[in-house]
Symmetry: none
Subunit: 216 residues, 2 copies
DNA sequence: CTGCGTGCTGTGAACGCGCTGAGGACGCCG
DNA sequence: CGGCGTCCTCAGCGCGTTCACAGCACGCAG
């Protein structure tokens, strides 16, 4: 279990309590430290405070999800207004608890979370000011809607699930185009071109001889 | 009555018992199957286990409510902790029973639930100036009544429960048409055409290669 | 500088998706 | 039995999408 909480007393209490339940518990006191620990992996779930020094809980989850980490996250917040529950869940948290909370409730929710297993992928992908919503089949760039054809959408979808990574044309052909169908590799170049025109020139980088990369 | 319970023996017992009381009973054994059945509508109430394969009872109710389904839900759980009660009810369940329970109590609560009727349901679905009343089987557009056939109504009903989302023809065929029956996908196109003529051209958007979306 | 390889893009053609009108099958009612 | 409404299939058409091709731009090596 990973606990990310800056308030020392609460963190210690959580650690003791969870250890008593048989969990192995690590504590991180700042946003960046928490993110690093979560990235490192090996945890079954994370308990995460919203108000953190260095990096908010929201931002932390968003980054984690962007990097394809699907660790179950239980969020804690003192707020019940300004930031609401919806915000937390939208960011990719799996459950949400407002302070003050009963310890029993926390445990129960944690167990539920572990039972449920890894969360499904979030409903919207976000990279920079780019947003892609698979359910609504909508793409926005800086809140302006961008009309994409089916193929363009599928390609961008694939790229946005691994932002910053270089993805080869072959891989794109295999996954975005029907594997069986023999299509010229040039098709990828063509569609990258289309996307560049619609999304902005420098968003998709060419890595000569290797593939393409979505700028983060 | 819809019973969602994965433990086969209990499910069978409930079915028999309820049928003896004069209810028509369908059983679903997994979370997703239960959700689909509940979505499809036509039930007076649902008996729902919390621990389900695929999708927890909590999540199931949450999604159901999010989609504007106000079916009365009686939740069953092996837990009796503080968490489960509160959380089950928070999720939108209407009553809560912990296992093991007496069959008489179950029946009594069920009756109470049915008497009480659907929970503060907004009796109509509203999207823009479109209104659909499932109970009265009526549809109005800008307060003018629109006459729809049964199939048109079912299709619009399904679309209005997920406004803004793209819904594929396959999904529509599965849910609006009888799953068993093999119907040509073209039927969907035809009925979308009918609806467009009656509701206005730009209310139903076509997303080429993906499906249809009800404009919000 | 020339030559080569890789990637970009404008053109245009074929394809196939989705829309529509026509009409047949079926059930309901008088 | 005939009229009517609904459901659904079918075939044709329009048009957006997809993709191949060829010529061009650019980086790199000799």
């Amino acid at each position: 279990m990973l606990v990310v909480e800056d308030e020392a007393r609460l963190a210690a209490a959580l650690q003791r309590g969870l250890q008593a339940e048989g969990f192995a518990v690590d504590v991180a006191a700042t946003g960046p430290a928490g993110l690093d620990a979560a990235r490192h992996g090996g945890y079954d779930a994370m308990i995460l405070d919203v108000m953190l020094p260095g990096l908010s809980g929201y931002e932390l989850v968003r980054r984690l999800r962007a990097e394809q980490h699907w660790l179950p996250v239980l969020m804690l917040s003192a707020k019940d207004g300004e930031y609401d529950q919806a915000d937390g869940l939208d960011c990719g948290a799996d459950d949400y608890l407002t302070k003050p909370f009963s310890y029993v409730v926390l445990l129960a929710r944690l167990r539920a979370l572990l039972r449920r297993g890894a969360p499904e992928r979030p409903t919207v992908l976000t990279v920079g000011d780019l947003r892609l919503d698979p359910a609504r089949r909508r793409v926005t760039r800086a809140d302006a809607e961008v009309a994409l054809t089916a193929r363009e959408f599928a390609l961008l979808d694939y790229l946005m699930r691994r932002p910053g990574q270089v993805i080869s044309k072959i891989e794109l052909l295999d996954h975005v185009w029907d594997a069986s169908l023999e299509t010229a590799p040039n098709a990828v170049e063509v569609y990258v071109g289309y996307l560049r025109r619609k999304l902005g020139r420098d968003r998709l980088e060419t890595v000569r001889g290797a593939g393409y990369r979505l700028a983060t």
